[in-house]
């Protein structure tokens, strides 16, 4: 580990060794130029008489790099500043430390030697560096608002579980047909039979009940005349009695017991299936109404209104920014923001041109903090708002001389646009173009002049200005680097007054 961690030291040691060994042969060292012709592949015919340049020319006199001398840290040469090796190692050591001796002793107490060997093999197979780089928690703005490895199903957050887990949904019967008259009558009787026995349907006495046993199996048409008349007379009397009985019950306030109510009849008309599918599903064209309170969800959702906001953020657009920046909504609303660039762009697809709006917005607190936000959306208002929030989240402090202008002359280049900012004396004002003016106003710079000598592309002008403001030289750092004392002559002249 120690050898791998310090390749620079090894290289330096080896180079010093090489130096010592070659000091005696300095005078005999000769530079042998490589022959260019030897580097041309045989299959390639040169079209120019100029010999091709050999690869990278070696310096005639060997240099020693600053890294080998230990003047700069190796991490500074990594291409990706966000994942420098040093940072990763530090994080890995902190978060995934090796077992201490006490922990090892505890493990020895709990596990057999074979188990401990397995544990150690498992630990050794995973590089803490991989855990750090690949298994880290997201910190970007598009991360989920909760930590989850999606191993478990959470009913409120996740999508509804597949049908097999919840209530069984029967697929429609492919053989179902519209009912004919007989089937309809049978279905109606089946429906009516659900209601309590003894009432208008099914359990009433019929005409056959009023004739003798010998006539019951014979059709009415074959009954003798006196039998038929007698039966009709009795049946009529019986029906009259039943009607009287029901009317008397209704008068007394009682419900006609058991019969289908109006609601039942309505539901029969609207919802009873007209297919021969045993009433599998509703044929209603009406959507089912949602219940007032959904069981299991009732009371779980709360409006995201923070009383600390004092009603300034009812729609909740600042909540995410508030969480990330630590500012209050009142503080966010106090910041100065200004839309600087708006551009209409379009994406040509097979469906046609899909237009979007690109918006750049500057945000600042008027006291040395400024940031540039960018957003794109199909809706201008959405793009506006997003870029505004982005600008606020990207606010960083800038260096200001006497809290009014920049340190010296600053220059930044983005694409073909060069922005030059010049420090100016107090009271000079902002003699700059309008976009730079807005940036300065947000940043709290009051005396400045600027030139944009080349391309004046609005987008690049804005970006370059922000870059120039953020990349000003630090006089303290320069003084420390040179080992010299740097004095502000202006302050010395006025007796060292700082303001």
């Amino acid at each position: 580990m120690s050898v791998a961690a310090r390749p620079a030291a090894r290289r330096l040691a080896s180079s010093v060794g090489a130096l010592c060994s070659t000091t005696s042969t300095i005078t005999t060292t000769t530079i042998t130029p490589t022959t260019p012709s030897s580097q041309i592949p045989s299959s390639c015919r040169p079209f120019s008489s100029t010999p091709p340049a050999p690869g990278r020319r070696k310096p005639r006199f060997r240099n020693i790099t600053a890294r080998d001398l230990g003047l700069i840290s190796p991490a500074s040469q990594k291409p990706n500043p966000y994942v420098s090796g040093e940072q990763v190692d530090r994080f890995a050591d902190k978060k995934f430390p090796k077992y201490t001796n006490a922990e090892k002793a505890e493990l020895m107490r709990m596990y057999t030697p074979e188990q401990i060997a397995a544990l150690e093999a498992g630990e050794a197979s995973i590089d803490p560096k991989d855990l750090t780089i690949q298994g880290r928690l997201r910190t970007d703005i598009y991360r989920l608002p909760y930590i989850d490895d999606f191993a478990e199903y959470q009913p409120i957050i996740d999508k509804r579980a597949p049908a097999s887990r919840s209530k069984k949904i029967v697929p429609p019967d492919p053989n179902a047909r519209f009912m004919n008259t007989d089937q309809f009558v049978a279905d109606l009787i089946e429906w009516a039979d659900k209601f309590r026995a003894g009432e208008p349907t099914g359990t009433l006495k019929r005409l056959e009940d009023f004739v003798g046993e010998e006539w019951k199996k014979v059709k009415e048409a074959q009954w003798p005349g006196e039998v038929r008349d007698g039966a009709h007379k009795e049946f009529k009397k019986y029906l009259q009695e039943e009607i009287n009985k029901a009317a008397k019950q209704q008068e007394n306030g009682g419900v006609v017991s058991g019969g289908p109510t109006d609601a039942d009849v309505l539901s029969y008309i609207l919802e009873r299936s007209v297919m021969t599918d045993r009433n599998a599903q509703t044929q209603s064209s009406l959507a089912l109404a949602l219940p007032d309170k959904v069981p299991g969800v009732a009371g779980m959702y709360k409006a995201a209104v923070d009383p600390a906001d004092q009603g300034l953020d009812e729609t909740g657009i600042y909540q995410d920014l508030k969480r990330r920046s630590g500012m209050s909504v009142q503080g966010i609303l106090k910041l100065q923001t200004k839309m600087l660039v708006m551009n209409y762009v379009s994406n040509q697809t097979r469906m046609g041109k899909i237009g979007s709006v690109v918006v750049y917005t500057v945000a600042g607190n008027g006291d040395g903090w400024v940031g540039l936000g960018y957003a794109k959306s199909q809706e201008p208002t959405v793009a506006n708002q997003k870029s505004r929030l982005d600008a606020i989240s990207k606010m960083r402090p800038i260096r200001r001389y006497e809290n009014r202008t920049v340190y010296g002359d600053v220059e930044a280049k983005v694409s073909g646009t060069v922005v030059k900012l010049f420090a100016r004396p107090p009271g000079f004002g902002l003699r700059v173009q309008h976009r730079i003016f807005e940036i300065c106003r947000a940043a709290g710079i009051y005396d400045l002049s600027a030139r944009v000598p080349r391309s004046r592309n609005p987008m690049n002008t804005v970006k370059a200005t922000i870059e120039a403001l953020h990349n000003q030289k630090d006089p303290e750092e320069m003084a420390m680097g040179r080992g010299r004392k740097l004095v502000d002559a202006r302050k010395v002249y006025y007796g060292g007054a700082t303001q």
Binding site: V16, T27, R62, S73, G481, L486
Partner: protein
């Protein structure tokens, strides 16, 4: 006395600082030596060592016993300059020749005093924050503020920051 060796040294030193070199060499000439010592006084480089064609041992830069220059070894002598870095950034990053071998630029004391205060004088632009000017004067190669102290003007060699 031609200034081509100093002009070449300027280009080389700027390249060296962009390549993040720690120890590099320039030809051993009297002009280069004086310029290197002026850079050292101004704090832009950490060491000036006269040695051979290969770099001297880095750990002995300050105690290195230089061979006396003789007619035998004069052709192999080089000046080895130690470059400085602070917070992983080079202390000296921009070196620009003001005088070129084809056109020499001079500035007198009056002009220099303006330039040092940040104003343009003659063909020389005013100094920005952290910039210095190196001049070749009667009293040797000096930084602009040294020249102002000694109230001399001279040939403007380089603008360094």
């Amino acid at each position: 006395m031609g200034i081509h060796s100093v002009c070449n040294a300027l280009s080389h030193l700027q390249n060296a600082s962009r390549a993040q070199l720690g120890l590099t060499s320039i030809p051993n000439t009297k002009y280069n030596l004086r310029f290197a010592l002026a850079l050292h006084r101004a704090g832009f480089i950490s060491s000036v060592t006269r040695a051979g064609l290969t770099p001297p041992p880095p750990d002995q830069l300050l105690t290195f016993e230089t061979e006396p220059v003789t007619t035998n070894n004069v052709s192999t002598r080089r000046l080895w300059l130690g470059l400085k870095y602070y917070n992983n950034k080079p202390v000296m990053s921009n070196l620009e020749a003001v005088s070129k071998p084809k056109r020499l630029v001079t500035a007198d004391y009056k002009q220099l005093s303006k330039i040092a205060r940040g104003f343009k004088a003659g063909h020389v632009k005013g100094l920005n924050l952290g910039e210095t000017l190196f001049l070749s004067t009667d009293k040797g190669v000096l930084e602009v503020r040294e020249a102002l102290e000694k109230r001399v003007g001279g040939l403007v060699l380089a603008r360094v920051s």
